[in-house]
Symmetry: C2
Subunit: 284 residues, 2 copies
């Protein structure tokens, strides 16, 4: 494994905090809510953007954001990532600067993405170079994975205002990240894959969030051919999945799921009993 030598702080913070709320019985209750912190990113002392984050793994978030925005093409270009919560800032220093930073920052798209929603520069061009290889996926593996993931949605259940994403292999969760915006969670996982030189080709990406164009793009950039969501999808999410060759499974919860693209790669080895009334079955 080829790990770049980046000097990083480990400035992760607690993800939720207790506050009092009054319920419908006029009772005061202690509730946990999700933290949300501004983190202003500087590259070689130049201010780039402010991200709002849970703050759990800020260094990986920044690393993945730089990758997914195509601002930096190799992690080896980065000397250090230093988070300082006193000033809510993160300083990234590179070895040799970034070429054409101005033009890379110039074009922006404000997306539907829950979370960051800003994609700079050359992303659409980059996507034309991506073609993912598909491998068969067993229905029984999907079910086993959903059971595993269920145990991980910790802050979501507690605070209910975050999104969870997981990088998975078969029925195992390799890394699980939650953040206030799901694009932060995706970027944090992308940062880890970069740092640890993880190949996405055999992996599955799970998210609690919706499958929008930006979500599909980011997962494809990470080389992951299978995207699984508890939520729904949008038209452009589907368009991108078709174009990039991402198998797209939405509404995955319990024993239910809907394959919107790549159904030919699913091995239906664990079909649940059909409990619908006959007239519905006949209608297909």
């Amino acid at each position: 494994m080829n790990r770049p030598d980046i000097q990083m702080t480990r400035a992760g913070l607690d993800a939720s905090l207790p506050v009092a709320a009054v319920d419908e019985h006029r009772r005061t209750r202690q509730q946990h809510i999700a933290a949300e912190r501004p983190l202003t990113l500087y590259i070689d002392k130049r201010e780039i953007v402010t991200l709002m984050t849970l703050g759990r793994e800020p260094e990986l978030l920044v690393l993945g954001w730089l990758r997914n925005q195509l601002l930096i093409d190799r992690p080896e270009r980065i000397r250090s990532i230093q988070v300082d919560w006193e000033t809510d800032s993160v300083a990234v220093t590179t070895h040799d600067g970034i070429d054409n930073l101005d033009s890379r920052l110039a074009r922006k798209t404000v997306t539907t993405g829950c979370g960051q929603g800003t994609v700079f520069g050359d992303l659409m061009d980059e996507l034309d170079r991506i073609r993912l290889q598909q491998t068969p996926v067993r229905q029984s593996t999907i079910y086993a994975l959903l059971d595993t993931i269920n145990a991980h949605n910790e802050i979501y259940r507690r605070a209910g205002a975050v999104h969870g994403c997981a990088l998975c292999h078969d029925d195992r969760v390799l890394h699980f990240v939650e953040d206030v915006g799901r694009h932060n969670a995706v970027d944090t996982l992308a940062g880890r894959m970069w740092l640890e030189d993880i190949d996405g080709a055999q992996l599955c990406f799970y998210t609690t969030g919706r499958l929008t164009s930006e979500m599909v793009m980011k997962v494809a950039q990470m080389g992951v051919p299978l995207l699984l969501s508890r939520s729904g999808l949008t038209q452009m999410g589907l368009d991108f999945a078709r174009r990039l060759g991402v198998t797209l499974i939405a509404r995955a919860k319990g024993r239910h799921f809907l394959v919107y693209h790549g159904a030919e790669h699913i091995v239906f080895d664990a079909m649940p009993e059909d409990t619908r009334p006959l007239k519905h079955r006949a209608a297909g």
Copy 2:
């Protein structure tokens, strides 16, 4: 009512489209998914940003976006808003240009917001000028409103990948908007309030989405003192509500809700029967 005379197209499009998906029984099913379209905004022929939207009320979305980004301070400054789906673009022309457009566009914050997530320039300064007046809210009115809203979440139920927002008075829904990002929905309502010169002081804002800092900020900018959400909230959403004087009610669904700020303004006139076991009640 003082309506600005803006020439606008009416280029709203269908919000969902049918596609085929394969379910866990390997049955092909027709499902509706949410449309998601890019819309590139030009102001006086200068490209500003690309928004991703459902495309239902694109003119109002753009108007509200310009307002909430503080790029334009009065709707009367706008001569026309022309949407053209052939080129996925919208051309805004002003009467006299926009002062300091460059510096207004320079600072950006990428927020947690599901949706647009980019707040330009002077927003934080603007917020220091906002103090909202509270009026009492009856619990029975909240329940009646939740029942009304339940009937409106049409695309959400159908396609499940959009957020709904509503501008409400007492138990009535004045305007209901859905979009792929909830900030689009908020901006579209803000656009309508601006165009129709609607005062927010007596209104309630409902959203299916999470109450993040950006959500609370935008609602406060619209002068609405009461924010009701089916989802949870974040720490900064709560901080902003305290600072701006927004009554914040989260987890509002059925007969349940949690008041995180402004509980003293709630009139508890319809408390449901407490059906919890005695031991839980004692723990209160």
